[in-house]
């Protein structure tokens, strides 16, 4: 029920006791302001950090082969292990949904030419999943797809720098490039955050490459990403399982380190993860710290306000105020101040971040910002905390015997 007289009472009380209102509002606004800025800066640090590790999928596993170094099961050391399409199918079938994306790779050096421009590049022949493994960003056209693979079509996807080298200022999409004597149609152009080398690559369907270069089913490398729901330990265990099964498949001694080489990004990302989680804990501590400081501040103010208003409460009770009306007048006033002040702190805080954010990039703080919901949540927490902190003294105040309150000159 909207009681206009109650609100009139509250606004009069806020308006006529400006110092008190401003002081309590200031505490809340300051807490939210600090919360916003600290959180924003911490987020900025986090952004800088994660940006440094975004090139490849960070749940990737690379499997390569080499020569055996130990004799095993009657086979000599020095035997060359060669992956084939069957190994790709084996991993895919054996591990099912533990594998998120998987691709084989075949490398070939080629001479590429278009009209008068010529240069040498590396061709990476692969499966369509490769796009997600390398975070390949298509700027033009499409990546290699399943039908390319099935039909062994002569299509390629070229890096941004390949396009720049061969096509100068014109676009490559739809044109034919000569790779060591064979014409391939360009169906896509990509960018890659991994650096210039990544953008000097040419992608081709693996089936095409296998047919054109040697007519075999050899594979140089198998890359996959594990199911991202796996945690760190599960990922490491998964890597070890793959290694073991592949070693069995090729009859390699289990202590042979060269024949089957598996590189698990999870091992690499451990350090990064530790750093990020450390940062996360720091952010949490900062957030909670500021919030708790704000809550303590509000509680103190509420106790102070009730103390200051003891006499007024006594007068109101002597004049017939019910305990409920005493509680509501104190509580609504404090909640109202908290809301207004909290909102002001939020606006000022995000404003400050917006203003100084860009100039902080040189201090490894990139794009320092906080999500609106987070700050809103913090404000609501403060309001609820303030209400609870205020309710107890208000309740106590409503129980004050008016005679005690009035004697308290």
């Amino acid at each position: 029920m909207f009681d206009i007289d109650l609100w009139r009472e509250i606004f009069q009380s806020i308006n006529k006791n400006r110092t008190r209102s401003l002081l309590s509002g200031f505490t809340v606004a300051f807490a939210i302001l600090l919360f916003t800025i600290l959180f924003g800066v911490a987020n900025g640090l986090g952004n800088t950090f994660s940006e440094a590790f975004v090139d490849d999928a960070n749940n990737a596993i690379f499997i390569r082969s080499g020569r055996t170094t130990k004799a095993h099961k009657g086979l000599q050391a020095g035997r060359r292990i060669q992956f084939k399409n069957g190994d790709y199918d084996y991993i895919k079938e054996e591990f099912g949904d533990k594998v998120q994306y998987i691709t084989s790779r075949v490398y070939k050096g080629v001479n590429a030419s278009f009209r008068n421009e010529e240069n040498s590049y590396t061709v990476r022949a692969c499966h369509p999943d490769h796009q997600y493994l390398e975070n390949t960003l298509m700027t033009d056209g499409r990546f290699i797809n399943q039908s390319d693979l099935d039909n062994k079509t002569k299509v390629i996807v070229i890096g941004r720098l390949v396009e720049e080298d061969l096509f100068l200022k014109t676009t490559a999409l739809g044109k034919y490039v000569n790779l060591s004597g064979i014409q391939y149609k360009v169906v896509g152009v990509f960018r890659d955050k991994g650096g210039d080398n990544e953008e000097r690559l040419i992608y081709m369907p693996i089936s095409t490459a296998q047919q054109v270069y040697g007519n075999n089913d050899y594979v140089d490398q198998i890359n996959l990403t594990y199911n991202p729901n796996m945690d760190y330990d599960q990922a490491l265990a998964f890597g070890r399982t793959i290694t073991k099964k592949m070693k069995n498949r090729f009859s390699v001694a289990s202590n042979d380190q060269r024949a089957i080489r598996l590189f698990n990004m999870a091992e690499q990302s451990k350090g990064v993860n530790q750093m990020t989680s450390g940062l996360g804990i720091l952010i949490l501590v900062i957030g909670f710290g500021t919030l708790i400081a704000g809550i303590v501040g509000i509680s103190n103010i509420m106790i102070f306000i009730v103390k200051e208003r003891t006499k007024e409460i006594g007068i109101r009770k002597a004049l017939g105020a019910s305990p409920k009306s005493i509680i509501s007048i104190i509580l609504i006033e404090s909640v109202l101040i908290t809301i207004i002040a909290g909102f002001m702190g939020l606006v000022i805080g995000t404003g400050v971040l917006e203003l100084v954010g860009p100039s902080l990039e040189e201090y490894f703080i990139k794009d320092p910002s906080v999500s609106g919901t987070l700050v809103l949540g913090a404000t609501i927490t403060l309001i609820i905390a303030g209400a609870i902190a205020g309710y107890l003294p208000a309740k106590k105040a409503s129980r004050i015997k008016p005679i005690v309150a009035l004697r308290n000159d």
Binding site: D5, G314, I315, R316, A318, L319, G320, S322, K401, L406
Partner: protein, 233 residues
């Protein structure tokens, strides 16, 4: 109007307790003007507080205007105070950020009266105490006598059955005290029942009846010839 029988009250002090009121019997008729006198510690304020429902008795009966006052919850006490009683305090107890009119209208707010009516009633009662021109002034812009008159207007606004005054002239100089007493006597002449605590003989003699308390019992209860305050003003 008011009937008290065998009223007892004690306050705990550490392990022991202090027996403040030891069986008070008192009855006050409508239209009376009673002074309760006694030295400090005699229990006179405690008695007034119990009558004013600001405090509760341990034992005994209290009937006010035909209503038995017992088992007071905070909520019930608030309703009774608002309906039956008007308070006048030694230190006025006005709310300092509200102007005279708002102070007078406050009990009407707790009666649930609408704003327009409150303003009208408030102005009427301020006019009665001669402060209509001061309606928009804050308490700290008023003299002590004016403050007490605003407080009286506030006590009257709720149309109480009984007016309770705790040392109403205690914070005022003699001349102003007599002015206030003259005003309270006028209210009594108009038929209001008034009960006041005082320790000043001259003020007590301006009432119609003096009840003297000592150590928690009534020593003396006499009707006196009222001294009119107007003759001193």
């Amino acid at each position: 109007m008011l009937k008290i029988e065998k009223l007892h009250k004690s306050y705990p002090i550490g392990d022991s307790s202090l027996h403040v009121l030891k069986g008070i019997d008192l009855s006050v008729e409508e239209g009376e003007m009673v002074a309760i006198m006694g030295s400090s510690g005699s229990g006179k304020s405690t008695l007034l507080n119990i009558i004013g429902m600001l405090d509760e008795a341990d034992e005994g009966d209290y009937v006010l205007d035909g209503v038995k006052i017992e088992n007071l919850t905070e909520k019930k006490a608030a309703v009774y105070r608002n309906k039956f009683l008007g308070f006048i305090f030694q230190s006025f107890n006005l709310i300092n950020y509200k102007n005279a009119l708002e102070n007078v209208a406050l009990p009407l707010y707790y009666q649930g009266m609408n704003r327009k009516q409150r303003q009208e009633e408030g102005m009427f009662h301020l006019g009665k105490v001669g402060l209509a021109d001061w309606a928009k002034h804050l308490p700290n812009e008023l003299s002590g006598g004016q403050k007490q008159r605003v407080a009286i207007a506030r006590a009257l606004a709720a149309k109480p059955k009984l007016l309770l005054a705790d040392e109403p002239t205690g914070a005022l100089d003699t001349t102003t005290s007599y002015e206030i007493m003259e005003f309270i006597q006028q209210l009594n002449d108009e038929g209001k029942t008034i009960l006041m605590v005082t320790h000043e003989e001259d003020i007590a003699n301006m009432c119609k009846r003096i009840v003297r308390l000592k150590d928690g019992v009534i020593m003396e209860d006499t009707f006196v010839n009222q001294v009119r305050a107007s003759q001193y003003v």
